[in-house]
């Protein structure tokens, strides 16, 4: 009887003062992870599109990588939701009977559309490569090669033409998909912000600014993740090449790590979106304090007392102001950039945390508080799914997927031909 009877949220919620009996922290770590992951997806795609659409030549190196990484992130965006739902097997109901008055119903359409766009753009970018691989692998009899050749054969969708005209068509299509993808990526994350911003019952969430704040910080996190992963991978390759050369391996001709030119130009874009995100958040805060509605007393108490460190020190301080300074100061190095990017990613995560958990930190009665403690060691399915273990699973998965996808769609050290 005790195994089945789980009051969802009871385990990780501490109630202080007066809280309604049915109130618990229902939306916990996985709901923090979900907008974080979709933000990374949207941001990675926007970064890639900045090259394809706006011809930002300095982003050439990054473009293909961030596009493929965006694909690796895509299925991971679903994971937090599946882990959170009390009835995960019914998750598809959102696709079957979408109630469009609900922001969450938009998920089905927007996510599918976005997935189609990313897959389509990748197909156009890699079609030539698929065809070349089917030719190159011809005649090889071993199992892996045969499997790969069949896979590439299927992936060409039967379009074998790789003459100049066909390739030109591909490039044009890429540009179109990248252009369409930008507003859709914006939508993918804007609607996530709308999910929170439209809940009038929640005094912290309700704000018309919420969708915009979410989009801005999503792009920030996407760019930061791509830059960071790019730096790590390129520096790792440089290390391997250096070691090989040291051992006398003559095949190593170039030792190239992350280029500071690329990094510093990309970080300009990062700074722009960072400034936009923080400005809107500060505006929201000032506005609330100025208008001092009924909820202001409890909100002020949560923001300036209970969650002061989480909001002002961790998010605004370490996650926004500090990396901003680090990126703006002259003499930017790869190392300093990497540290700044880690702080930015941390800052965006704290923003999601402070919105989701912070919005449930006070009771609807405005006369009490709820404290959230993340389950660290899981002892049942629920504390696994909605605990540290579940969060780590979600974070690790895109990298595992990328490792696999990269074998089929190589995206590093590939320079887009103009």
């Amino acid at each position: 009887m005790t195994e089945e009877l789980i009051v969802h949220g009871l385990e990780w919620t501490d109630k202080l003062l007066f809280v309604y009996p049915n109130e618990f922290i229902y939306w916990s770590i996985q709901i923090v992870m979900y907008p974080y992951m979709t933000g990374l997806v949207a941001g990675a795609f926007v970064l890639s599109s900045l090259y394809h659409v706006f011809g930002q030549k300095d982003l050439k190196e990054m473009a293909r990588f961030s596009l493929v990484f965006s694909l690796a992130l895509l299925p991971v965006a679903m994971m937090p939701l599946m882990l959170h739902l009390q009835q995960p097997l019914r998750g598809m109901n959102v696709m079957f009977t979408p109630h469009f008055t609900s922001a969450i119903a938009a998920f089905g359409i927007v996510f599918s559309t976005y997935a189609v766009i990313v897959l389509t753009e990748i197909w156009f970018v890699y079609r030539e490569y698929f065809v070349q691989q089917t030719i190159a692998l011809k005649g090889k009899a071993d199992l892996v090669s045969t499997f790969k050749r069949t896979l590439y054969h299927v992936l060409t969708l039967g379009a074998y033409d790789i003459n100049e005209e066909a390739i030109a068509k591909d490039k044009k299509a890429v540009k179109i998909m990248a252009a369409i993808g930008i507003p859709v990526a914006g939508f993918l994350h804007g609607y996530a912000g709308f999910i929170f911003g439209s809940v009038k019952a929640n005094a912290l969430w309700m704000s018309p600014l919420m969708p915009v704040i979410f989009i801005m910080s999503a792009v920030v996190s996407g760019i930061a993740l791509c830059m960071l992963t790019y730096i790590i991978i390129m520096e790792w390759k440089k290390l391997k090449a250096t070691l090989a050369r040291g051992r006398g391996d003559e095949s190593v001709t170039t030792i190239r790590g992350a280029e500071i030119e690329v990094i510093s130009k990309t970080s300009r874009y990062l700074i722009m979106f960072l400034v936009a995100a923080i400005s809107l958040e500060i505006l929201d805060l000032i506005f609330r304090g100025y208008t001092a509605m009924k909820s202001w007393d409890i909100l002020r108490s949560v923001m300036f007392e209970e969650d002061f460190v989480k909001i002002f020190i961790l998010q605004y301080g370490m996650g926004n102001a500090l990396p901003f300074l680090m990126l703006m100061l002259p003499g930017l190095t790869i190392r300093r950039t990497a540290v700044a990017l880690i702080l930015v990613l941390f800052g965006v995560f704290m923003m999601r945390w402070n919105v989701v958990i912070g919005g449930q930190a006070f009771s609807l009665s405005f006369e009490g508080f709820m404290h959230y403690h993340l389950p660290i060691i899981p002892h049942n399915l629920e504390t696994f799914k909605e605990g540290l273990a579940g969060a780590l699973t979600v974070i690790a998965t895109p990298f595992i997927l990328f490792w696999g996808i990269n074998k089929i769609l190589p995206s590093l050290n590939v320079v887009e031909s103009d």
Partner: protein, 156 residues
């Protein structure tokens, strides 16, 4: 020369078709907008009947009276006539078939719901005779001295 540009579109259409086919089997036929409002009336119609058919557990005093005439009569002259039989005796459900007998809650806690003294002079609770549960015969069950059907204390 065949135009290969549209191939991803055909794939997307195939995926949509697949979803629609699966949907046809997964969504009940009576799912739709019931009434005028898509906002408030979008649901599976047969669920309303399902809720209406949910089993009622409490039967009410009139049902008890059919067999337990004397007990109901005993209570009818006292202040406790206000209290439904099932508040203390538990829901009848399918009694006398199932359960055969109802377990009566004879705990002090039950009586204290109304009779624990709380010093709230402006509350209607003040009109109820009350005791301090930590002082008044703490090791005895209330019903050893008080008849719950007819506690009329004035009669000694």
């Amino acid at each position: 020369m065949k135009n290969h540009v549209l191939r991803p579109l055909w794939c997307a259409l195939a995926a949509i078709a697949l979803i629609l086919i699966v949907r046809h089997f997964m969504v009940p036929d009576d799912f739709g907008v019931n009434g005028e409002s898509f906002t408030y009336g979008f649901h599976r119609l047969s669920n309303v009947d399902e809720w209406q058919d949910f089993k009622a557990k409490y039967k009410g005093r009139e049902y008890c009276q059919e067999c337990h005439e004397e007990n109901v009569a005993e209570a009818s002259t006292s202040k406790h006539q206000l209290i439904q039989c099932e508040n203390c005796h538990g829901p009848a459900i399918d009694h006398p078939d199932a359960p055969e007998t109802l377990v009566i809650d004879t705990s002090r806690e039950l009586c204290l719901r109304c009779h624990a003294s709380l010093s709230y002079p402006d509350s209607p609770r003040a009109k109820i005779k009350a005791i301090d549960p930590d002082r008044h015969n703490t090791d005895t069950s209330c019903i050893e001295c008080h008849n719950p059907h007819n506690p009329n204390l004035e009669e000694g």
